[in-house]
């Protein structure tokens, strides 16, 4: 590089640096001038603001949306709950205060209170620290009586979620839980704060976003001592939308009562919409216990129960459908042309395939059996014969058409899909070929096949209404409180690709089950002839029986007894309700589960006008 080049560059540089220097000085001067303005000219103002008017924005929690049943009866409400807090800066003597609190509120340990007090940094002493949520009436009364002698405590009111029907529909509504730190760090919970409640199960979880509402903001001025001086609302909170459920709480309570001493589930559907009219699972739990922080003993009692009361058996319990599966096999056989209505098989009590003997539940045999009798008397041998003629994958095809083997899509979280086995399923999951004999088990609803009570109820909807499956729904509409805007959940029908004449033949056979002598549920028909009920019993084996005669039901230990099923609908001519009941280890379907269904249907139709007028009951 030449010297001249360097020279001109240097000259140019020095000239420009002088300009840069001037700019820098001007910038510094601007900063100083601004400081002068803020600190000297307006210093007094700002000093006053610093002393007296410290502005903060506080959150106004939105009220959670309400939940109603189909007749607008309140199922989930918000009540004022009383919380006990401590204001550190007002405490005079923490030791005696803590002892007094322990006397009035026995849950709280004085040592813990003193320890927590010690951990609060000094600059946060103006802020209330929550000691207990949802004080009970006695605690509140004792505290109120002694409040003046207890400087430093504060009783605050916050909305508390309450469920008037408590354990009668706890599984449907679900419960709330406090948000945890892991969730708070996820983008999905961006607008949540620590101490917020979130729906954990049921409707509360499924409709969390809708029910939650939008929090508001309040601008608060605090003085130098940190006390609120003034506040005004920046944005009012918007309460969450309210939900109208499809259930009828009276029917729901009745279903819960019917199940009281049993383990199992009942589901009632409207066959023209898929509306869930009732859905009960037993044993149940009290969701009100979760609304405030649940106590350790309560949690352990619920969680430690071997029958898992938190599980909603209606959508999460999967059981072999037993004979309630037979109408689906019958539909498959008719539709695929394997049989006609008049095709008959002879039942002598067993059916031989190779070296294996498959037994009918009636060891004396049914004699000659056609389609109608096969369902009415639930002849197993008839279905073993069908199982030999219909390939497993065809049975699966029809079972899926009736909504088995996958979630129904009801608006509840964590529904289980059950299982409809196919040959490729077995190869993939058990790594074995499908054996012909297994199809025979499937044909009577045993083997790998499982379904939830909700799925079975939904599968009988097309049998009741003549061929349309509906996705079950729990929420009928969502109403925005501020605008009154209403979002209606539409019914979701799907027509079955099965000849309606075939379905009608099966439907008639299901009527005979209840209303003809020797029908497996004839006892129900005799008791409630006015219901015109149709249905099917089912008995799901828990343990595979060995050869030899089946032992007496009474002699088997409870947990090895069969599950009892009954799925029915009524009135036969124009069905208005479909009910599925499952009783775990209940024994025979007709006697254990059947009465639950007929009682519930009687209650439903009895409350309706039609049945009332006819029978003249009040």
């Amino acid at each position: 590089m030449s010297f001249i080049d360097q020279q001109t560059k240097q000259e140019q540089l020095e000239k420009n640096v002088r300009i840069i220097l001037a700019v820098i000085c001007l910038a510094a001067l601007a900063l100083v001038a601004r400081l002068w303005y803020l600190q000297v000219i307006r210093g007094g103002d700002y000093n006053l603001q610093a002393q007296n008017n410290r502005i903060r924005v506080r959150r106004m929690r939105a009220l959670r949306g309400l939940v109603y049943d189909r007749h607008r009866r309140l199922l989930a409400d918000n009540h004022p709950g009383f919380n006990l807090s401590l204001i550190p800066e007002n405490v005079i003597d923490i030791e005696s205060l803590a002892a007094a609190i322990q006397r009035h509120v026995p849950d709280l340990e004085a040592v813990d209170i003193i320890h927590r007090y010690g951990e609060i940094p000094r600059h946060l002493h103006y802020k209330p620290v929550k000691l207990k949520n949802n004080l009970d009436r006695d605690e509140l009364a004792r505290l109120a009586a002694h409040q003046s002698g207890l400087p430093g405590i504060l009783v605050e009111i916050e909305p508390l979620r309450t469920y008037p029907f408590d354990d009668d529909c706890a599984h449907i509504l679900g419960y709330l839980g406090f948000i945890n730190e892991e969730e708070l760090s996820q983008p999905a919970y961006e607008s949540y704060y620590p101490d917020d409640l979130v729906g954990r199960t049921g409707i509360e979880a499924a409709y969390e976003e809708v029910l939650r509402g939008t929090d508001g903001k309040r601008q608060v001025e605090v003085n130098a001592m940190g006390r609120e001086v003034r506040s005004h609302v920046l944005a009012a909170p918007t309460a969450g939308a309210s939900l109208t459920l499809t259930i009828d709480i009276e029917l729901q309570r009745h279903a819960a009562t019917l199940l009281k001493e049993l383990t199992g589930a009942i589901v009632a559907l409207d066959p023209h919409t898929g509306d869930v009219l009732a859905m009960a699972s037993s044993p149940t739990f009290s969701n009100n216990l979760f609304a405030a922080r649940i106590s350790r003993e309560d949690w352990q009692r619920i969680h430690g129960n071997p029958l898992h009361p938190l599980q909603n058996r209606a959508i999460q319990g999967t059981y072999p459908p037993g004979s309630t599966f037979k109408p689906i096999v019958a539909a498959a056989a008719l539709e695929d042309g394997v049989i006609t209505e008049r095709t008959a098989f002879f039942c002598n009590g067993t059916h031989k395939m190779g070296d294996t003997a498959f037994r009918c539940w009636n060891k004396y045999g049914h004699g000659g059996v056609d389609l109608g009798r096969s369902l009415k008397e639930s002849c197993d041998v008839y279905y073993y014969n069908l199982g030999e003629q219909i390939p497993i994958d065809r049975i699966a095809h029809y079972a899926e058409m009736f909504g088995l083997g996958r979630e129904t899509g009801i608006d509840l979280p964590e529904e289980r899909p059950g299982l409809v086995p196919t040959s490729s399923w077995k190869l993939k999951h058990i790594h074995q070929q499908w054996y012909g004999g297994e199809t025979l088990s499937v044909a009577i609803g045993q083997g790998y096949t499982t379904a939830t009570p909700l799925q079975m109820a939904a599968a009988y909807v097309p049998l009741a209404n003549g061929g349309t499956w509906f996705r079950p729904r729990l929420v009928r509409d969502i109403i925005r409180p501020e605008t009154g805007g209403r979002i209606v959940t539409p019914a979701a029908p799907r027509g079955l690709e099965i000849d309606p004449r075939h379905l009608e033949k099966i439907r008639r056979a299901l009527w005979r089950v209840v209303n003809e002598p020797r029908g497996t549920a004839h006892a129900l028909g005799r008791q409630h002839p006015e219901l015109e009920m149709a249905g099917k019993t089912g008995t799901a084996q828990v343990v595979r029986m060995g050869s030899g005669p089946p032992p007496d039901e009474e002699e088997i230990p409870w947990k090895y007894r069969d599950h009892a099923w009954f799925v029915g609908f009524a009135p036969f001519r124009e069905p208005r309700i479909v009910v599925a009941a499952l009783v775990e280890h209940g024994g025979h379907g007709g006697s254990a589960a059947g009465p639950l269904v007929s009682e519930l249907i009687a209650r439903y139709l009895g409350n309706g006008n039609e049945a009332n007028e006819r029978s003249g009951e009040p």
Binding site: Q10, N16, L31, R34, L35, L38, Q39, G43, N47
Partner: protein
């Protein structure tokens, strides 16, 4: 003939002293920001970490000083290329946090390639102008290559999106190009274009960025978010008055009204305690520091040294001006720390390394 001076006197003691003064004041302010009357430890966590980083920074400074800066001239373009590659990599596989992708993780260490890009652009421009055979001032056509050198990293950083750093790169480069020489006509054209681009670029800004600028224009719009920061920051600074409230007596600081009070808003903590007098003094110290930087630039042995020193000085100037301007409500809120003052390891390490390079240029100047 020149008389060889003793080597030790060729170290710029003035610059070192100013640097130590700034760091010490910064440390005291961080201490007061973390101060709590009931504090368990005499040395709060943040202070301890800052001192630890200072030791690491001294290492960086020594390296910046010890390597003959002419080596930087040789490796300028490879470093620039590396920086570009890293910026592309960060877009492809970087770690995303709060909507922006700025971090790369290599062997467990997380760093921001845009930090390296700043230095790389300074070195690349210094090298380019020092080897240029045409005499300055340059017109637009002659400046196509330097503009390109700036444009690539600028666009890649904006894409992350990190508007603050991208603007910083642009401003530093503008200062260097101006120092190297640009014709008056070209400058007018560029200012016009930049203004038009800023107006047009509004639509490409993210919502939160638009929000920040709107908030700056009218803080009342968002009393909770950035507006809250500015309002509280102004109250803290303003309530300091002429004399300040005294060391450890800042009420706004003690009650934690200020957000991020030991990092980006550290100047507010300082100004509340030391008032207008202390604030002006700090600005004066910074001014002296920048003056030293510019002087080192004009006295350097060769054009590369000059341009490098000016680029580094510009880096300090813009951070200093934007940060304080933001705290006292002259600038929108952008996440740029006050160099040598704010709490933060990366910032301190970078600053001390850059000062090492300034000392390096001064050390190797011509002594007659």
């Amino acid at each position: 003939m020149s008389i060889r001076q003793p080597r030790i006197s060729r170290i710029d003691g003035g610059l070192l002293l100013l640097c130590v003064i700034l760091f010490t004041l910064g440390c005291l302010t961080i201490y007061s920001a973390a101060f709590d009357p009931d504090m368990a430890s005499w040395l709060p966590h943040h202070c301890r970490r800052q001192l630890l980083w200072f030791v690491v920074g001294i290492g960086g400074m020594t390296i910046g000083f010890a390597i003959d800066y002419h080596l930087f001239e040789k490796i300028a373009y490879p470093v620039y290329a590396l920086a570009l590659i890293l910026l592309v990599l960060v877009l492809l596989m970087g770690r995303t946090s709060m909507g922006a992708t700025r971090w790369l993780t290599v062997a467990g260490l997380t760093f921001q390639p845009s930090e390296l890009a700043k230095l790389a652009v300074i070195m690349a421009l210094a090298r380019y102008f020092s080897r240029r055979r045409i005499a300055p001032p340059y017109n637009l056509r002659e400046l196509v290559i330097p503009f390109g050198l700036v444009a690539f990293p600028f666009l890649l950083i904006i894409r992350q999106p990190d508007l603050g750093t991208a603007m910083l790169v642009a401003l530093i480069s503008a200062a260097m190009i101006f120092a190297a020489g640009i014709t008056r006509h070209s400058m007018t054209t560029i200012c016009g274009l930049a203004g038009a681009a800023a107006a047009g670029g509004w639509h490409f800004l993210h919502d939160y960025q638009q929000q920040r600028i709107l908030t700056f224009i009218s803080p009342e719009m968002d009393p909770r978010g950035a507006g809250y920061h500015i309002a509280q920051s102004k109250i803290a600074v303003g309530s300091g008055g002429i004399w300040g409230k005294g060391f450890l007596k800042g009420t706004q600081t003690l009650l934690h009204f200020l957000p991020e009070q030991h990092t980006d808003f550290i100047f507010a903590v300082y100004a509340e305690q030391w008032g207008f007098l202390g604030g002006s003094l700090l600005i004066a110290v910074f001014l002296l520091f920048l003056l030293r930087g510019l002087t080192i630039g004009t006295e350097a042995r060769d054009p590369f040294g000059s341009y490098l020193a000016i680029g580094i000085t510009a880096t300090f100037f813009w951070q200093f001006f934007i940060n304080i301007g933001m705290v006292i409500g002259l600038m929108p809120v952008v996440g740029i720390p006050l160099p040598l003052f704010s709490y933060g390891g990366t910032s301190l390490l970078t600053s001390l390394t850059l000062i090492g390079i300034l000392l390096n240029i001064h050390f190797r100047k011509k002594y007659f």
